[in-house]
Amino acid sequence: MKFDVEGMTVHFPYAAIYPEQHAYMGELKRALDARGHALLEMPTGTGKTAALISLITSYSLANPARPLRLIYCTRTVHEMEKTLAELRLLFSHLPPAAARSLLALGLSSRKNLCVHPQASASAARDSVDTACRRLTASWVRDKAASDPESTPLCDFFESFDRAASAGDLASYMPPGVYTLSDLRALGRERRICPYFLARQMVKYANIVVYSYQYLLDPKVASIVSREMQKECVVVFDEAHNIDNVCIEALSVSIRKQTLEGAERNLRRISQEIDRFKATDANRLRAEYNRLVDGLAQKGNLPISDAWLANPALPDDILKEAVPGNIRRAEHFLAVLRRLVRFLDGRLETENVENEMPVSFVASIHSQAGIDQKMLRFCYDRLHSLMLTLEITDTDEFMHIQTVCDFATLIGTYTRGFSIITEPYDERMPDIRDPVIQLSCHDASLAIQPVFDRFQTVVITSGTLSPIDLYPRLLNFNPVISRSFTMSLTRDCICPMVLTRGSDQLPVSTKFDMRSDPGVVRNYGRLLLEMSSAVPDGIVCFFVSYSYMDGIVNSWNEMGILQDIMQHKLVFIETPDVVETTLALDNYRKACDCGRGAIFFSVARGKVAEGIDFDRHYGRLVIMFGVPFQYTLSRILLARLEYLRETFQIKEGDFLTFDALRQAAQCVGRVIRSKADYGMMIFADKRYSRHDKRSKLPGWILSHLHDAHLNLSTDMALHIAREFLRRMAQPYDKTGSGGNKTLLTEEDLQNMALDAMEM
């Protein structure tokens, strides 16, 4: 359908629209008009993505002066696929002329895009990358030119290269929407490498959908997103965790194994240097001369040679020559050896140490004779050296890269980080497992360049409350910052706080209570009762893997698990992604065929982050416990201290905020549209306290009746039965009277007329 938003025609791919989507579009348009950043919270289940892409696409159609350049960042590949599917739906509703000129594509790693029969066979990303480099690196291709028989090349890449030099890549990729599987199918059909094709076409595409990390993690961002223009609109969807992504992108840890591996790598590099000295000394000399002039990579590397870039941010790296004392390969090697030895010495410690980068750099300088500038250039110097040495199996050199990442980061940043050395894990003090962790505390560091480079950055999610916290954490000034409520046709969500088991004893995952057999049994009884009353799918979230493992094992021993299996099949998330993916697939099948199933998952786990349990895939979600972070972790403590000093955020507040946004995120997965319905049980007595509960997003709180705040298992069961019965009744989808929850084109026209009259 087509309608007007503040005088602009918007093409929307559905026959009706929710009022909040309409309002959302209005706010978004204001942000685009003002060329500023926006922070928008809208409950899950109200079609954020559809509203976003329709408005931004329509905006550029209405303003030819601002051509469509949208970078849409998702957290996961499957969200990427969903967004692309929505884009395809949208394109089919655009005016044909516009749809014919727009190109939208997804971008992922070689592992997800490679179609070369041998290279794509390996399971790990590193090995696919290496296999690809073996076939496509510039020196391999040079060698193949002189010796074609013994040097295999990748046909797909060769045809890409020919097309790229002839400048007709666009003919391979006519406008349209390309998901990852479309790209692979195209690659197979036209015999062209989809990965490199996609990476080249990103420059010309109107809409690019890719992972956060391609924009936030300097290691990949500087390769992939280097050439994006300022006019781009950047969208971070499901961005409630964006601060964690940012700090993780700049964190490195070093263990004993890392250092051992690094030493192995150094030995290998030294052998290679010797070999080159004997055969091709000119190459090393040429590299030296290049380093005198400036940095190794000035953006003119062949596309196939690029690999993970500098871990620090491009703007933070001084545009100057590599220091003289690491220009020669042997000298640099000696510096790295000293650095590894120094770190090894630090790992020998018996005490926990917490240092700031400045003091750490000072001690490196005094003990190993490496100054800050040399540290900062470590990563680039290593990169240059490996290219010179024509090393293709980069995955073997992960260890020394980690060490150089570490060095570059501490050489670059003086604030917002801390270096924590622990001789053993807090929870297992008997097992010596020393680790040096460089952890970033300031989320704004990684995202700052994004805000600076692009004129409009939209951060949106279903759970951004409290909405004033995010601008502080990320250090930016949004022109629009708004939280939308959900207009509901009927009470299709039913949140409950369960504080007691059927025996009236409190339940909680508080540390002193969680292993109490009474609590374990009460939790088990709750699930058992619910599994007999609720149809189709049930999702359970636990606070951690170890807790889930423990409680499921106890249920198994108590026989509760067997009883539960009388009603539904049971699937569990495991650390192994392949197994978890298959379990999820089977879970959906079980819900589809009517058998019904339960999925056990972990808050903060991969499933909680990105999998939807909408419609019959999730009629009930139970959050067992409050998903606090492991509060004794030194990294967390250091971060809390930093937050208190820099942003004046109290520790307790931050911890509760963080736990509750995770809980809200978990339970929010059950609802996808207003026709959908689901129940949410927060099973912990702590949720009944006001300071915890009030941190839940508004759309949950508004449905949390006072009568549902202090329930026991049997009361919850009764409420669940009533709710399900109510939801099974037919209802008027469009809402009644003045409270319209579904707007048609006609309604929107009338609204516009009313506004005119007023």
Binding site: A16, E81, K82, K111, T179, D405, Q566, A583, L584
Partner: protein, 627 residues
Amino acid sequence: MGSMTIGAKYKTTLKDPGTTGVLRMVRARPAPLSLLSSDWLGRFNLAPVPYWLLLRERGRGCVDSSARRASFRWDVACREGFDQNEDKFTFTPNDPRSAMKLNVDFQSIKGHKFNKVDGSKPMPPLLNLSKDSDKGGGYMFEFDNGTNRDLCRDFVARVLGKQQGTVPPRLNVLPENSITSTRPEQLSSVEMQQRMKLLQEDSELQKLHKKFVLGNILQESEFWATRKNLLDDEANKGSKQRPGFKSAMLADVRPSADGRTNKVTFSLTTEIIHQIFAEKPAVHRAFLDFVPKKMSEKDFWTKYFRAEYLVRTKNTVAAAAEAAEDEELAIFLKNDDILAKEARLKIKRVDPTLDMEADAGDDYIHLPGHGIIHDGSKETNDTDSDFARRTLSQDLNRHAAVVLEGRSSDVELTNTNTVAEALAKSKKELPSSSASDDSNHERLAKVARMTEIEDLQGPRSLPYAPLCIKDPREYFDSQQANALRSLGGNNDGRRIRSSRLSADDAFHYLLDQISSIKVNGLSCPVVHSDVALKVLNELNEGISRSRRLNLKNPQEGLLGQIPQCTRAELMDHWTAIQELLRHFWSSYPITTTVLYNKVNFNTVASLSSSSAACGATELFLFFLLSY
């Protein structure tokens, strides 16, 4: 062909020379279906089809509501006496003094046998009607020639077939008194088998078939014409609903200890073994490889449970030691390589909207040594090690996957070897399409379904599995009870009706009614339609409610107050009326004489008799209710 008379000899044994005489076989007429054939009922002019039956019928979308207004006179079709009301045969000896006189009801005959007649043997053609297939005993007749015998044999076959309800549709024999001129349809043997199968599976259908088709009220083709969907469905489905695996984890056998010695006992059934094989392909392969060539089955399972016990007790050191010594035992402790291979294949086919494995490809934050260590990521176990610990989670996931896949074969689980082989066979049948399916439309459709917002656009039909209901009456009644339960809320128990009449009053009222009809004749309906409707609603609700109240004990319901046989009769009449009505209304508009005949002679006649019976019961119920 209501009867036949043939000269035959009756013999008690094979050796017996036999008594010559006349064998007469009689088949029941397409009798009026009067069961409660009380005299006074016969003269009512009822609104003959009880409303509640019609309403039910309408609920299933069969009969137009105009049927409610329909009212037709009925005349009892007592075209013949009741002497031919049952199937029987009589044997009258030529010698009137002989004691060998027989008059036997076919009800007592359970089977018949006959011998082969060819020129080579001097054996006379015989027909043996056996009373009980187990005990023997019966009647043996000798015929003069084969043709006579065959005539008799066919007759008997049909009568017996009718009794057992599984008579094959007659192809060559047209009923004598057929009133239609339609040609009997030509059926392939497959279709015929299908019909017979349907009849066998559904006792209610069988009853109807017996009553109408064998009772010559309806043609075979007419009967089936209204059940096309049954035939089609069956053809489409190909196979019945198969029993699946139990949800319970049988493969997780718990040892039992006797408490005195250090012995633990595991007990196995074929069902458990089947599940173990299905869930652990490596064990299955080992079984096929080792048993019985290398070791006996008992040894195999002993080894298996030894390994299981080590895993269960988390005794990793002992497990490693045992595995080092015994390579067969090591198989049970190792990671299942077949499963790993299957997983790699399957992962390519999963729904892209939940493919978390692909995420790993874009994750540059959690490179080794990067990112922040969380709880959980630390617990990555070494996948390189041969004896990676198997966790409960893996077992659960695997078990649920196997249950979902379902049993692939219908093999009787009699012994382990057949189980193992059947499973191996079904495995082989699986297509081994390993090519990744980027152009798979099903996958794309799935993604599209996952992304769209359902209430912003029109509905979309989803694929479904047809429901196979064994006993429709039971099913629909319980459905109705459920529906009423949710509607009625907590208002349990019957509302107490304020009855103005005492039992005596009600009885006298009823008698008055009857006598007034006797006097006034058939002029007006016995019950006013609005009253009847009220009674009907009350009855229906009462039946459902009482059923809901005591699902476990349906005898105590309202219907349970009626004697067992009456109830069964009522239900039979009900289904019969439904069937007849279906035919009655489907004959309109009457365009041919065939239809006219059908409506007038067959349907109406039987309908009226049935409804009369029902009407009587209805009155009875009415009486009960007011009581």
